[in-house]
Amino acid sequence: MIFKVNYNVLALCLSLTFFSTVVSAVPSKQSNNLFNHANNLLDKANLAEKKSSEEIVSANKIRKELNKLRSKVRKAKDSSERNNLTKQADNLASQLKNLQDSGSKLREENKHLFKQSLEVFEEAIVERWGKKIRNRKPVSMDSETTSFISHNTRFRSVHPNMLNKMGTPTDNINPENVNKEMSLLVPALAGQNAPPDLDISSFQISRKQQYFAHIEVVSTTQQGEVLAPLNEIHKWHLILSNLSGEPIENANVEIIGHMPGHVHGLPTEPRVTEEVEPGVYKVEGVKFQMKGWWVMQFNVTDEKASSKDDSVVFNLVF
């Protein structure tokens, strides 16, 4: 009995030593817990979304029935038939209202849980990837840039007969975006109207919920700043993990960047040039020729994934 306990203690000590020195890259208990928690939240969010869709589908069916009933009411021959049908219709209407209420409540719940799960995934991935993640803030641009050689306004592609309907460059400036200390009204400095509730986090889950990813600018300045420069080719790191915190290795990544307000893409063709360590990809050739709202999409093809055409999308507002 005594021996047995000793063995157990010894095994525990050995495994602890082994754990902390030899394989320090293995996910910590803390990060595993966080990933589990995040997955639970995500499952709940998805369940709420599923239920909500089901309820909205049923609500739509009921609405159709209700419309039929109401037209029957109008055509009813006598008052007793009409009363009877009206009762049925009222009953359906209250069912419809209940379903709609519950559907939208579930949708709200889904949004809330989904947001929560992303926050926990972020904590988990930071815990798991530690040193590689140097900047958790949204990717931003150096606003003090002196060589502001860029064009920056809402340009778009038009059909010839659209021309007369187009406003002038100053027509749609949001007064909040204007520098109030200037007497010059410079449309090119007023920025683009990115949606106010846009998610600009540098941590995102893929469309098909197979990957969790993080992007950051690789610092080139001595101060260790992590700002994207304007009009200069620079590097990024893309960290790709699955939802259990395991790195996605040897993935094929295609990068597409564009400005929703301008109908144009990046001035360069950035690409992944190296997998620096498992799941950490070096992206080279990124360049932004103007400030404003950019969307960066990473199409990921991973041999092991169940669905091959998945992508992660990041919004950037400079």
Binding site: S157, T168, M182
Partner: protein, 440 residues
């Protein structure tokens, strides 16, 4: 108490600025806030960033190379008929343009000659960006049948027979001059069929000798162009005087109409959006819907430029470049597709614009009035399913300005003309080499 009062005062002051923004009836057009002044300083030549590094050209900033480049630039003996030099289309007195809609060398070209002032700051050369360096650009006109119409081998032979000493001073002794001397006069990989045939008969050693010297000649021409400095214009004087808070001083430099034009340029007309920085260009490619000069043969602009770049034998990534591969990022990550490339042309500098008519890539507009009329109510780009890979992008919005406003913008543009620097060795070919030697 004062701590509370002050922000209220400030708020009232700021809000009054907002309401007077850019209005034509603004009482004092010269009244700029300190934020305006801080913004405007970005346009002065005194705030121009240092000339960009040129890793693909080791002698980019060598004065000796630039002196040789200057000599070659003005030497018409280096063309097929002995009458065309670089300076024929890039004349210093015309701010390094030629005043023609379509430039003429031995024949008529497809485009108008852009000014060379400020080009060292651009990552791409030509209207369509078909070259990634100034040295590679310089090689294009030499072999173009409508420009200098030389064959590569004959050109190299000629330059080295006329300038051997200067060349060796820059690049070191030519080890095998005998090979050069024995070259056929007419051999080139891009010339007519007979030239090409002769080129392919040369040994790869001979071809390399020619290409090495040919690219070196491009590099000295680049060194020359990097020496061209823009003298301060009235606009720069105005901005610089404002920085010094020289209140009375700056008011006398520009007229009221010019300052109205400046406000429109930065504001309502949004010219600043692409024509920005001290060189008044972002060096990007845009399609502004300038009319096609020949609708039967549309100009694909940057789309074609990219196709040419990919095939080019003298890029930053080539054997003739002095750069490491990692220093050629623009070429390595070249954007090769996208609808915005179709019919897009490089934003030209507006420096000296009033003195460099006609305008656009093939001189479609004869004066600034026509240019402004186009921006005021533009026609979207011509589109022909047969010729275009897709509907061209369109990059501008109608301005809907009145005649007075358009006049003011034109008045403002004239303030960007630099005085001709009569005593500048690099601008003035009449200053002899011996003079600069004693001057130094």
């Amino acid at each position: 108490m004062t701590a509370i009062k002050y922000p209220i005062f400030l708020f009232l002051f700021l809000s009054s600025c907002v309401f007077s923004q850019d209005r034509e009836d603004q009482q004092d057009v010269y009244a700029f806030t300190s934020a305006d002044i801080n913004f405007l300083k970005n346009f002065s030549l005194s705030n121009l960033s240092p000339i960009p590094q040129a890793p693909s050209n080791n002698i980019a900033d060598s004065i000796e190379a630039a002196r040789l480049g200057r000599a070659l630039f003005f030497d018409s003996r280096l063309s097929k008929n002995g009458k065309v030099a670089c300076a024929s289309c890039h004349a210093p007195k015309k701010y390094f343009t030629d005043g023609l809609a379509l430039s003429e060398g031995l024949g008529k070209t497809q485009r108008s000659a852009p000014s060379l002032l400020g080009v060292a700051w651009s990552p791409w050369q030509y209207w369509d960006g078909r070259k990634d360096s100034l040295w590679s650009q310089a090689l294009g006109p030499i072999e173009h049948p409508n420009e200098m119409a030389m064959d590569r081998s004959g050109f190299v032979r000629k330059v080295l027979s006329l300038y051997r000493q200067e060349y060796e001073y820059v690049f070191g002794k030519i080890e095998d001059y005998r090979t050069i001397k024995k070259l056929p006069k007419k051999a080139s990989p891009i010339g007519d069929k007979r030239s090409q045939k002769r080129w392919h008969k040369l040994s790869s050693y001979q071809q390399d000798q020619v290409n090495r010297a040919f690219s070196n000649i491009g590099k000295v021409l680049m060194s020359y162009q990097r020496q061209l400095k823009l003298p301060a214009s009235r606009f720069d004087d105005f901005i610089d005087a404002m920085q010094e808070k020289n209140d009375q001083g700056y008011r006398s430099i520009l007229s009221e109409s010019e300052v109205h034009g400046l406000r429109l340029f930065m504001g309502k007309a949004n010219c600043f959006s692409c024509h920005n920085g001290p060189l008044f260009t972002n060096f990007e490619f845009h399609n502004i819907g300038a009319p096609e000069s020949d609708e039967a043969k549309v100009d694909l602009g940057r789309y074609q430029g990219v196709l040419d770049l990919v095939k080019d034998e003298f890029t930053c990534l080539s054997k003739w470049s002095d750069a490491k591969e990692s220093e050629c990022e623009e070429m390595t990550y070249l954007k090769k597709s996208g609808p915005e490339l179709v019919g897009a042309f490089k934003t030209p500098t507006l420096r000296n614009i009033a003195a460099t008519a006609p305008y656009m890539q093939s001189g479609q507009f004869k004066d600034l009035k026509e240019v402004l009329a186009h921006y005021n109510l533009p026609k979207p780009p011509f589109y022909d399913r047969e010729q275009h890979p897709n509907r061209p992008h369109f990059d501008i919005l109608p301005l809907k300005l009145n005649d007075k406003e358009l006049e003011n913008i034109i008045a403002f543009l004239s303030t960007l003309t630099s005085p001709f620097p009569q005593d500048d060795y690099w601008w003035n070919p009449e200053i002899s080499d011996s003079q600069i030697l004693s001057g130094n």
